[in-house]
Amino acid sequence: MKRRIIITALILVMTLAFAGCSGSDGTVVIGSKDFSENIVLGEIMAQLIEKHTELKVERKLNMGGTFVNFEALKNGDIDIYPEYTGTGLSAHLKMDVINDPDEAYRVVSEEFDKRFGIIWLGPFGLNNTYTLAVSNQVYEKYGVETYSELAGISENLIFGAEHEFFDRQDGYDGLVALYNMKFKGEPKKMNVSLKYQAIGSGDIDVTDAFATDGPILKYNLKILKDDKGFFPPYYAAPIIRKDTLEAHPELEEVLNMLEGRIDDAKMTELNYKVDIENQPVEKVAEEFLKAEGLL
């Protein structure tokens, strides 16, 4: 009796395990980074694909930072995620900054295809660049407008950013080197979602911000000007595995429907709805697509 139970259980386990494994042919997996904008873009793509193709979409949104998604894309755990040209250049290709947006796009497309077998589809339109933001108090006290001015008073300020900012070519090290910034003490590293809380509570004075972030408005932060042009442009676009695209060529046409449809202003608006108004991502994505006549 006991033996029969054990055998049945084992068969059950194996069936369930295999059931979970299969389903990779008619399914496409969409990942995203762990901040609202990227999640919204991922959700928009997911709904669009579900509407316009026969494919099933598995969502792995909010899955860690840039590097996690890139690794997952490279080894096939996900098929698509929204990436930024600047990030592609610096963080993944480890090349120098290219300021011309078209040139940047051309280079990443070529190199990603060549080196990784990953294809860049049509850009959404938005340029979510890294910027530096200071708290309102700092701005009131020092009146800084540019990064160079910030460098001048940097030894009075504490810098904080998410972990990956310290790991990238277009991140902390390059920034302080170019501008000769010397912040007070050790920079504070934290989870990306805690940054704005930290600056709001005064735990840090300066942080890297994404230009289209909602909390910039909420915490009344001052965005400074990158006068020496350290940060490259970060035009967002879907990047997809070459073999996924070859298996399902209809994805190219569908995803290119979004090309140029989401500019900075639009993205900020969508981000605001999710971050500040706390609307669910699915709803915001759906409303956007309907308004664009894509759903």
Binding site: K2, G20, S36, M63, G64, A72, D77, N191, N278
Partner: protein
Amino acid sequence: MNLAALTIEHMYIVFIAILISVAVGIALGVIAYWVRIADKFILWTVEILQTIPSLALLAMLMILFGLGNVTMIVGLVLYALMPITRNTHTGLSDVSPFIKDAAKGMGMTRLQRLIKVELPLAFPLIFSGIKIALVNSLSIAVMGVLIGAGGLGYPIYRGIQTLNMKLILSGAIPVVLMALVFDFFMSKIERRLLRRA
């Protein structure tokens, strides 16, 4: 995301992990019981596995197995081993020597004695270990979101990122409820088993 789907995914991950760890855990407990030299080693190993901080273990497993549900299941199995293995071993060891002798006297082989006498007698304690493993796993599985696995960790983590209590609770309440419900019913069964034994 659909809360019902997430809850089902969460349970699915935990159940598969528990099924595997029951099979492996009982097997290890039996081996520890039969093979005297192995017993300290096996019991120590499973205890060490449990002592390792869960985040640390999951992160290390992610390095080995990548992101996703499989890694989570492996992690849960490793954590569930201690209560099951130790209780199996204790349960078997606690079987009265008189009964063991009687079985030997009836001409049973070691395997027969195990399956027909010792395991059934040890079952209440083994079941208790399974209960502990299951309830703990439901809680630990929440961390799956950090290594790309599914489940109720997703709304919880998203809620943390956006400081949205509603989201956090929407994931947390089902987890806690499931843990309480399973604990309640399995404790009832456990009591009945102990009474019978």
